[in-house]
């Protein structure tokens, strides 16, 4: 047994460090999963299915990650209609941003996460909007 003055680190400390390292990585991963995708529990919109038959998805809630393209229409009471590019795809979809999001400065080129509901006549209505 080493004497007090020449003591070194006990192996249990090494084990503790390894456990803490794994805990840090696991914590980081969990955090990343939760905060990097605010709609983690929602299903991504099946764009081909939507384009094929929007009514079949009516009433469902999905998430999409988009880049804003153009503002198509605007009404102070109804909201703003945008064409958006689905990230990672070439599809362009119209999304209605209701009037309660009027304070948001939505500009061309910005990236957003949308929580959308497929409404009547297949209109995609944003229920929640988060910047990527």
């Amino acid at each position: 047994m080493a004497r007090r003055a020449s003591s070194s680190v006990h192996p249990i400390w090494i084990i503790a460090c390894v456990i803490l390292l794994f805990a840090a990585i696991a914590g980081g991963w969990l955090l990343y999963r939760n905060v990097s995708d605010p709609y983690r529990t929602l299903t991504p919109l099946d764009v081909p299915a939507y384009l094929e038959n929007a009514n079949s998805l009516r009433g469902n809630v999905y998430k999409i990650s988009v880049t804003v393209d153009t503002q198509l229409a605007w009404s102070p009471t109804v909201g703003r209609l945008y064409s958006v590019l689905i990230d990672g795809k070439s599809d362009v979809l119209p999304v209605l941003i209701p009037a309660r999001f009027n304070q948001l400065n939505i500009q061309k080129g910005q990236r957003y996460f949308f929580k959308i509901e497929v409404g009547d006549k297949g209109i995609l209505r944003a229920q929640d909007v988060r910047k990527v």
């Binding site: 007090r4 003055a5 020449s6 070194s8 980081g28 500009q107």
Partner: protein, 584 residues
């Protein structure tokens, strides 16, 4: 009784013997001079007795118990190394009072002051009690070192070259002091004192002399028999005369004659045994150097509580900080100078960005897009650069905060740890001290830049992320400081670490994905930069930075988490580094 049994120690290869089969006994109340030519293993032997070095074979015993099995308590052993063990910026009284607070628990303030005064008187430093350590002479520093060991009244005192480099008068005084410390006096117990020395002038003042030559013990007996054994006329001829024979021959000779010389040696063990049997009043007062009695220890020593040591260490750190004019000036320069460097680039605030209108024909839209791209690139570079500039400056400050913090006083800390200071108290005191600096530096940076440049975003969140990034680098550098042996080495490693922050952050040049995946978790600057930009998430500045940056920005919470992990990891490494023995 201190007993060495067949101590052998090698350096690296088994043939490089530093100590070879050393056996000796030193009774309590005994003053022994350990002498020998340079490199003969004197200091090494002392380190083996202290437990600083582990012998390959043999054992050290105290009162019959093997110290490998049951070591001496910190207050039972004093070790005065060759280097100075006091802080230059404290005065003599402060040094002793701090040592008392760190090593002896349960003393109230008045007792502590009385004890400090007694120790000062014992070692003859009362006249210069308020003098700073850095202006003390060599002899006064040696006295102070002895005084620091006296705070816990150790029963075994090991002194390494405490008389080297002193003038004759100072040397005389130190030897007399050692003589006094070895002897029982007033309420102080007799103690075993081993003094490694080069000087042969005062051998007669010692109870015994141990001569080492090339790692072997070639004599251990009465000083008055030394000349006879080596066939010398004068003690000064001792070292040159050793060359007459090999160390092995000397050792064999000593093994042969040892019994005869030790029989003639009026050894202190017998005196002690006699003294124990006799009433104390029979001991002649005019012969203080004879170990006449071994009184019971007057005070039950107990190690101070963790929190007491922490408070003492923290108080000392702040005292030294405010007395170190150079460090104080540097800290103020960094605190006020670095934020000024940042605002130079955005004195008039950040430019606004004209949005795309998506109107007109295709040509107009293309022209508009090109203008927008150019404008947004300029603004994004400015915003991203200013954020990264703040972050990099704070990592530099963090490195400056902590690189020398432990490495710069490692020798003193090892000595204090030897004397009972807990690594946990020590590291916590450093952490609290540095946290104050980090908070002041980072919050001031955030407030100043935000106020002058009108940076958008939540100032509280910006302050938080800057505190975390500065704290992360400070903690990591504190860990490095505790792992390295010298302050220069620690500073160099920390500066390299800061140097790698910018290129590996990906803020300027995007790293290949695979490399980024491995390096990014360790680059505090990336998390600071990314976290700061997230505070501007609701602004156009965030959009344009995101549009030009090929490096993905991470969420604010994740940035905070990773930086907190850096801080925790750095402090853990600092603790483990402080816990590990690092004697030279």
């Amino acid at each position: 009784m201190l007993e060495l049994r067949n101590i052998s120690l090698t350096a690296g290869r088994a043939t490089d013997l530093l100590l070879d089969d050393i056996s000796a006994r030193f009774p309590q109340g005994h003053l022994c001079a350990v002498v020998g030519p340079s490199g003969c293993g004197k200091s090494t032997l002392l380190k083996v007795i202290a437990g600083v070095r582990q012998p390959q074979s043999g054992s050290v015993h105290w009162e019959g118990r093997d110290l490998e099995q049951h070591d001496l308590e910190p207050h039972e052993i004093g070790y005065v190394p060759q280097f100075s063990i006091a802080f230059d910026l404290l005065n003599v009284t402060e040094s002793i009072e701090t040592a008392l607070r760190l090593r002896v628990g349960g003393l109230d303030e008045s007792v502590l002051c009385e004890r400090a005064v007694e120790i000062l008187a014992d070692v003859g430093l009362s006249e210069i009690a308020d003098r700073r350590v850095r202006v003390l002479s060599g002899g006064q520093k040696r006295r102070l070192a002895l005084a620091l060991e006296m705070v816990s009244s150790p029963i075994l005192l090991l002194c390494d070259e405490v008389t080297s480099g002193l003038d004759a008068k100072a040397e005389d005084e130190i030897v007399q002091l050692l003589r006094k410390l070895a002897s029982a006096h007033e309420d102080e117990p007799a103690r075993t004192v081993l003094s490694v020395t080069h000087s042969l002038r005062h051998l007669d003042s010692h109870d015994s002399v141990a001569v080492l030559f090339e790692g072997r013990l070639i004599y251990h007996g009465a000083p008055e028999l030394l000349l006879h054994y080596f066939s010398l006329d004068k003690q000064e001829e001792l070292f040159p005369s050793l060359a007459r024979r090999s160390a092995g021959a000397w050792h064999a000779s000593w093994q042969k004659h040892r019994a005869a010389y030790q029989a003639a040696f009026v050894n202190a063990e017998q005196i002690v045994a006699r003294a124990e049997a006799e009433p104390v009043e029979n001991v002649p007062a005019e012969e203080p150097w004879k170990p006449p009695e071994i009184p019971t220890r007057p005070v039950e020593f107990m190690c101070p509580h963790f929190s007491d040591q922490f408070k003492t260490l923290l108080k000392r750190r702040w005292r030294i900080f405010f007395r170190d004019g150079g460090q104080l000036a540097l800290q103020l320069a960094l605190l006020f100078g670095f934020p000024c460097l940042v605002v130079i680039f955005a004195w008039d605030g950040l430019p606004q960005i004209q949005n795309l209108t998506s109107s007109g024909n295709v040509v107009q839209q293309l022209l508009e897009t090109a203008a927008f791209t150019l404008q947004s690139s300029r603004v994004a570079s400015l915003v991203s650069g200013l954020v990264m500039f703040q972050v990099i400056l704070l990592t530099l400050i963090g490195s400056n905060n902590a690189a020398r913090e432990i490495a710069g006083e490692r020798a003193i800390f090892e000595k204090e740890k030897f004397a009972g200071v807990r690594p946990s108290s020590y590291v916590l005191s450093k952490a609290v001290f540095l946290t104050t600096l980090v908070a002041a530096q980072s919050i001031w940076m955030a407030v100043f830049v935000n106020t002058i440049c009108r940076f958008p975003g939540d100032m509280l969140a910006q302050s938080l992320i800057l505190v975390l990034v500065n704290g992360a680098m400070t903690a990591v550098c504190l860990g490095i400081s505790s792992l390295t042996k010298s302050a220069e080495h620690a500073s160099l490693v920390c500066v390299y670490l800061v140097g790698f922050q910018l290129p590996l952050s990906g803020a300027v040049l995007a790293l290949p994905h695979v490399i980024a995946w491995f390096t990014r978790p360790f680059i505090a600057a990336y998390w600071g930069w990314s976290g700061y930009l997230q505070t501007m998430r609701d602004t156009r500045f965030y959009d344009v930075v995101q549009s030009i940056s090929q490096t993905e920005l991470s969420p604010f919470a994740l940035c905070g988490w990773v930086l907190l992990c850096h801080i925790a990891g750095g402090l853990l490494v600092a603790y483990l580094g402080a816990k590990t023995s690092r004697w030279d």
